[in-house]
Amino acid sequence: MSKTSKHTAMLGLPYYAWAIVFIIVPLFMVVYYGLTDKTGAFTLANIMAIAHPAHSKALWTSLVLSLESTAVCLLLAYPLCMILARSGKSSNSFLVLFLIVPMWMNFLLRTYAWQSILEKTGIINTFLTALHLPTQHLINTKGGIILGMVYDFLPFMILPIYNALAKIDKNVIHAAHDLGANDLQTFLRIILPLSMPGVISGITMVFIPGMTTFVISSLLGGGKILLIGNVIEQEFTLAYDWNMGSGLSLVLLVFIIINIVIQMLTDKDGEGVM
């Protein structure tokens, strides 16, 4: 049998090699370029560049906007998932499927759709002027970006929370009622804690994409609002300053790693995200 075991073990080699070349090495490259200047000498200047007002403002804006979007997503998704997961109808999983359909559509198109809706002469404003109501100016503002983020990322918040809530055994709810708890007490003491892994999952799946996007700010921020993603993207594609770009990416990596750690600590079942 050991010959087969050896063969079986070898099956993994192509992937291990691939992972090293295309996952590990590139990350080391980011580290390398981030910590060196154009001549190859060691420097911390690229990382310290985050302190530059333009950069720190971009980082701060990214952080704040992403946190706000994540919060909005959570507030919208949780009640929705409660309604769908706990009402016990089998048709509800079908409904969830339909809510996920937009996720499978190209996200550029979806974000772009909001651009045409929010524009000064876009659909909403045309509607509003027809009704002689004041027009909205969400395009090219932070509000517009939050709207775009919420729209793009809401399904990622819905799925894990729905799964966590649907997994709760009905008898556990009955037991809580049996022991004297009313609906509110049951929710606060039983349902909410048991749904926490899903909530954490959703937050981690929304926060990082929100913080690192440059597409949403590009399309809905009109290029006026710079997120850290825009800065990094421009360093690479416009300024060709790989070192600066890498250095700033390393700063981003800190946030990403914190996110990963939080996710790992709360994933007791080891069942992963979905």
């Binding site: 009955h174 049996d178 022991l179 708890a181």
Partner: protein, 357 residues
Amino acid sequence: MKDELITLRSVSKSFGDKLILDDLNLTIHENEFVTLLGPSGCGKSTTLRIIGGFESPDSGSVFFEGRDITNLPPNKRQLNMVFQNYALFTHMSVAENIAFGLKIGKKPKDYIEDKIRYALRLVNLEGYERRSPSTLSGGQQQRIAIARAIVNEPKVLLLDEPLGALDLKLRQDMQYELIRLKNELGITFIYVTHDQQEALTMSDKIVVMNQGYIQQEGTPEQIYNEPENAFVADFIGDSNLFPAVMVRDRLVAIDDNPFECVDEGFGVNRPVDIVIRPEDVEIVPPARGTVTGVVTDVIFKGVHYEMCIDVKGREWVCHSTVAHAVDEEVGIKVDPFNIQVMKKPESEDEEAAGINE
């Protein structure tokens, strides 16, 4: 005469287009260990859940101590339930699970701590306060579920097939535990199971159910020795269940062979069902038997031998500590007292309906 505690009056319940309970009437007294016994789908779990308040009857009422509680939600009823798969709160410790009902009831902290200790001692799990339910074995989880329920001092404890997931030895141990608990706590237990051994072991009263009807209510001895219809006779214990003709009072003919029995009032030359328990079938020399037959199978069951005897095409089953050989010709005798005569149902519906009180 014990007081009436819970009464179900004319309770009916359907799920979709399936009728689960039809005009059910049931009374449960104080300090009784009542078992609802029957096959899957007979409605026993539904009955329990209606008593607990987790299902509402489509029609009919539920009374508790004389008061109508039909529309009372479960958290306001003075009973507690032990669920089939334990339903422990996995995100809380054992102590927090047990304390849950007490905290809702806003009991003082010292009281709660005392009760937790008392409950854990009662179920032989002292010291387990800080453990997480998911680290416990099935039997331990079961006992924590029981502790969590009884700590609230309910008047009635409902148990929904709680021992189903445990292996045989553990199940038997837990059965004795439950009897001991009932005696120590002095409260009513309403127990649901499909396992007749459990029912016979633990109950003061057994309610046999089938297809949403009560087939028979009685003590374990009554149910076992005097089944009132073919379903009960067949469901409880092993039995020789034969069609027969009641010749007259105290004489019944099984396959045209007359047997003396002790039942009266079944008419003259009427078709009936009779049941004889295998342990009541006596094997005697052929000359002394009321009927004779040939042994076809002998199986050693540990407690006894199980022997199948062919009496002119009818198979009789006998349990005895004395073995006989296959192909041996034997005689069969039955003490008249051990022949239970039962009315034959007029139609299939009647057979399912059994006797409704």
